[in-house]
C-alpha cells in the first residue's frame, strides 16, 4: 500500500480544511436528539447527541444492531430522522446536502459497486454523479485514488472478480476521489483478514494525518483503538459514552496493586489512606486508587514498613470498559 501520496493539489476544500484547523471548538458532526423509528416500530436510534470534533478520529462503537449504521445513514441523508437535527461541517442536513456532501467521503455498510464494471469504471461512475467534480481531472483523480489504496494493478479487473479486501479498498478509494474534510467509514474492516485490517488501519491513519476528520464505526474496539482519538459508544440506539479515549480510560476506576509478603499490614495502610474496594489475593493486594497519587501511596506503604515487592497502577482495560458499556456479548440487544 502506498503512503505519502497526496490528493491532487490545492483545492478550496483543502484550504478550507486548513483554515479551519486552528478552530478546535468546531465540530465536524453534531446531532441534536437524532431519533429514528422505523415503520416497523423499531426504535433504531434514540435521542442521539453526538459531537465529532474537527480533526479527530472518532471511533463509533457498538455491537451489531446498536444503531451505528442507521445513524450513519441519517448523517449522510440516506434516511430521514423521525425527529432531531444534525449538521455536517457546520451545514444543516439534509437541507444542505448538495453543498456539504461533496466535502464528505463515505463508505456505508460495506462496498457496493457495479459488478460488470472495472474498478476504474466504477470510480468514474461515482465521480460522474458528483455535480461539483471537474470532469477534466476525473481520470487523474480516479488514478490517484486507486493508487492510494493500492488497487492500480487491479484497476481494469471487473469488480465481481475482486476479493472482499479489494472491494473494501475500492470503497475507500471512492471516498478519496476528492479532497475531503470529513470521511465517514462504516465498518471498513468488516470481513477482512488481519492483514487487510492492518492495511485499512494504516490508510485511515494516513488520511487522518492530513487533518481530515474521520468517523469510523466498528463493533470491535480493538480494531480502532489504536487509531482513535475519540470514541462514541452505542447501545440499543443510545449513545452511552462519548469523549476522548483518555476520558474513556479515566472512566474505568484505576487501581493500585501491591505485591507484598505482608498483605495484612498493607491492607491497614490502604484502609487508613481511605482507598475503596480493597481486595486481597495470593501475595497481592489491590484497591481503587481514587484521587491519590501512586507515588504517595507507595511512600506511605514503605514508611509503614510494608515490604513492597511490586507496585503498579494497572491501566483499565478498554475492552472491559467497552463490554461494560455495551453489555456482554454481541447481538444481545437485538
Amino acid at each position: 500500500m502506498s503512503t505519502g501520496l497526496e490528493v491532487p493539489a490545492a483545492s478550496p476544500a483543502d484550504s478550507r480544511a486548513r483554515s479551519r484547523r486552528p478552530d478546535a471548538a468546531a465540530a465536524a458532526v453534531t446531532t441534536h436528539g437524532l431519533t429514528k423509528r422505523f415503520r416497523s416500530g423499531q426504535l433504531a436510534v434514540d435521542g442521539l447527541d453526538m459531537v465529532v470534533p474537527c480533526g479527530s478520529v472518532y471511533g463509533f462503537l457498538g455491537p451489531n444492531g446498536s444503531g451505528k449504521t442507521t445513524t450513519i445513514r441519517m448523517l449522510l441523508g440516506l434516511i430521514f430522522p423521525t425527529s432531531g437535527t444534525h449538521e455536517l461541517l457546520g451545514t444543516a442536513m439534509p437541507a444542505g446536502a448538495a453543498r456539504v456532501l461533496p466535502r464528505v467521503g463515505s463508505l456505508v455498510e460495506g462496498p457496493a459497486f457495479y459488478p460488470q464494471l472495472s474498478g476504474r469504471a466504477n470510480l468514474a461512475r461515482i465521480d460522474a454523479a458528483d455535480a461539483t467534480a471537474d470532469p477534466r481531472t476525473a481520470q487523474q483523480r480516479v488514478g490517484v485514488a486507486l493508487e492510494r489504496v493500492g488497487l492500480t494493478a487491479a484497476a481494469r479487473k471487473h469488480y465481481r472478480a475482486y476479493s472482499l479486501g479489494m472491494k473494501q479498498r475500492l470503497a475507500i478509494a471512492a471516498s478519496l476521489l476528492r479532497p475531503r474534510e470529513l470521511i465517514i467509514l462504516d465498518e471498513p474492516t468488516n470481513g477482512l483478514d488481519p492483514q487487510g485490517t492492518r492495511e485499512v488501519r494504516a490508510l485511515i491513519r494516513e488520511i487522518a494525518t492530513g487533518g481530515v476528520t474521520v468517523l469510523v464505526s466498528s463493533h470491535l474496539l480493538a480494531e480502532v483503538e489504536q487509531i482513535c482519538s475519540h470514541v462514541g459508544v452505542m447501545r440499543t440506539g443510545r449513545l452511552v459514552f462519548q469523549g476522548s479515549l483518555e476520558e474513556m480510560r479515566a472512566r474505568g476506576a484505576a487501581r493500585v496493586r501491591v505485591r507484598t509478603t505482608a498483605p495484612g499490614q498493607a491492607r491497614d495502610v490502604l484502609t487508613k489512606l481511605g482507598l475503596a474496594d480493597i481486595q486481597a489475593a495470593d501475595g497481592e493486594i489491590s484497591a481503587q486508587i481514587g484521587e491519590h497519587a501512586p507515588e504517595s501511596v507507595c511512600r506511605e506503604l514503605v514508611l509503614a514498613g510494608v515490604p513492597v515487592a511490586g507496585f503498579d497502577t494497572p491501566r483499565p482495560n478498554l475492552e472491559d470498559l467497552f463490554v461494560e458499556l455495551t453489555g456482554e456479548g454481541f447481538d444481545v440487544d437485538g
Binding site: 491532487p8 493539489a9 490545492a10 483545492s11 478550496p12 476544500a13 484550504s15 478550507r16 483554515s19 479551519r20 422505523f38 445513514r73 449522510l76 441523508g77 440516506l78 434516511i79 430521514f80 461541517l89 457546520g90 451545514t91 446536502a97 448538495a98 456532501l101 461533496p102 464528505v104 463515505s106 456505508v108 455498510e109 460495506g110 457496493a112 459497486f113 457495479y114 459488478p115 460488470q116 464494471l117 468514474a124 461512475r125 461515482i126 460522474a128 454523479a129 458528483d130 455535480a131 461539483t132 467534480a133 471537474d134 470532469p135 477534466r136 481531472t137 483523480r141 470503497a171 471512492a174 476528492r178 479532497p179
Partner: protein, 300 residues
C-alpha cells in the same frame, strides 16, 4: 461558513469544484452519459436490442413466404396491413411495430425502467450515488432521460430492421396509405419517422410508469413483472367491451393510434388525444416517482 468558501482561491478551485460554477446543465449531461453507458453496455440490454432486430427479420421472412408475390394473382382476404405489405415493403415496418407494441416493446421497456432504480437499490450502488451526492431529483431525472433514450433507440431499431427486411423482400415504391391515397416514397418514409416517434412516446410513457414502480422496491424482477402485468392488464381491458367507459383512460389505449398517421388527411384529433394521454401519464407517474424517491429512506 468559512471565509475560504465565500471567496475561493482563483485557479485552485477549478480542479475539484470547477463544475459547480458552470451551472448544473453540464454535470447533468455528464451523469446522463454515464447512465447511458451503463444501460447500453449491459449485456442483457444489448441482448434485448438484438431481439428487437431479430423479430422484424423473422416476421419479414415469414410474411414473404406466406403472402403471394404481387406479380401473382391477388391473394385472399387479410388484415389491411398484411395486404399492404405485399404491395410495399415500407409497410412491413408499420406492421412489425403494430405487432411488437403488444408484448415485445413493452417487455423491453419494463426491463429497462423496472431495473433503473430497483437495480441500483439491489446492488447497493444507490446509497453510494446519493451519498456522492448525486441529488435525488437529479438522479431521477437522469434515470428517466435514459429510459426515454432507450425507448427511442428501441423503436428506431425495430423500424430500421423492419425497413431493411421490407426493402430486401418486397417491392418498394410510392406508398398507398390505409385511406387509399398514394403518396411518394419519401413522404411514406417521413410518415414512418413520425410513427416511430409516436410509438417511442408511448414506450416512454410506459417507462415513466415503470420508473415509478421501480422506486418502490429493491427487487428489479418484481418491478419488471409488475410493469408487464400492468401493461398486459391494460391491453386486455382495452379489448373488453364492458370496459368501454374507461378504455380511453387506459395507458395502452392510444398506443396503436399511430395508424392515424397512415391516412390522408392525418387524423390529428386522435393523435393529439394519444399524446395528451401520454403526457398525463408521464406527469402523474413522474410525480409519484418524485414524491416517493425524494422522500424514501434508502435502507438497501
Amino acid at each position: 461558513m468559512s471565509t475560504a468558501e465565500v471567496a475561493p482561491a482563483p485557479g485552485g478551485g477549478a480542479l475539484a469544484t470547477g463544475g459547480a460554477r458552470r451551472g448544473s446543465v453540464r454535470p447533468w449531461f455528464r451523469l446522463l452519459r454515464s447512465e447511458l453507458a451503463l444501460v447500453f453496455r449491459r449485456w442483457r440490454n444489448l441482448a434485448l436490442l438484438a431481439v428487437l432486430v431479430a423479430i422484424p427479420v423473422i416476421l419479414g421472412i415469414a410474411l414473404r413466404l406466406s403472402v403471394p408475390h404481387p406479380s401473382g394473382p391477388p391473394g385472399g382476404p387479410g388484415a389491411a396491413f398484411l395486404a399492404q405489405v405485399a404491395g410495399n415493403g415500407v409497410f412491413l415496418a408499420f406492421l412489425v411495430l403494430t405487432i411488437m407494441l403488444t408484448v415485445a416493446l413493452p417487455l423491453v421497456m419494463a426491463v429497462v425502467s423496472g431495473d433503473s432504480l430497483a437495480g441500483e437499490a439491489n446492488t447497493g450502488t444507490l446509497r453510494y450515488l446519493l451519498a456522492v451526492p448525486a441529488g435525488r431529483a437529479r438522479l431521477l431525472s437522469v434515470k428517466y432521460a435514459a429510459i426515454v433514450v432507450f425507448a427511442l433507440v428501441s423503436c428506431v431499431t425495430v423500424a430500421v430492421s423492419a425497413l431493411i427486411m421490407g426493402v430486401a423482400l418486397f417491392p418498394v415504391g410510392p406508398v398507398t396509405l390505409l385511406s387509399g391515397t398514394t403518396v411518394p416514397l419519401s413522404e411514406g418514409l417521413l410518415r414512418l419517422l413520425f410513427v416511430v416517434l409516436y410509438v417511442a412516446a408511448a414506450m416512454a410513457t410506459l417507462g415513466a410508469i415503470g420508473l415509478a414502480i421501480s422506486s418502490f422496491t429493491e427487487h428489479p424482477i418484481g418491478a419488471i413483472a409488475a410493469i408487464m402485468i400492468l401493461a398486459v392488464a391494460s391491453e386486455v381491458s382495452d379489448n373488453i367491451p364492458q370496459f368501454a367507459v374507461v378504455q380511453p383512460y387506459l395507458p395502452t389505449h392510444w398506443w396503436l393510434s399511430f395508424d392515424s398517421l397512415l391516412r390522408a388527411p392525418i387524423d390529428t384529433t386522435t393523435l393529439l388525444h394519444g399524446l395528451l394521454s401520454f403526457g398525463v401519464y408521464v406527469v402523474i407517474f413522474g410525480s409519484i416517482a418524485w414524491a416517493r424517491f425524494t422522500g424514501a429512506d434508502i435502507t438497501s
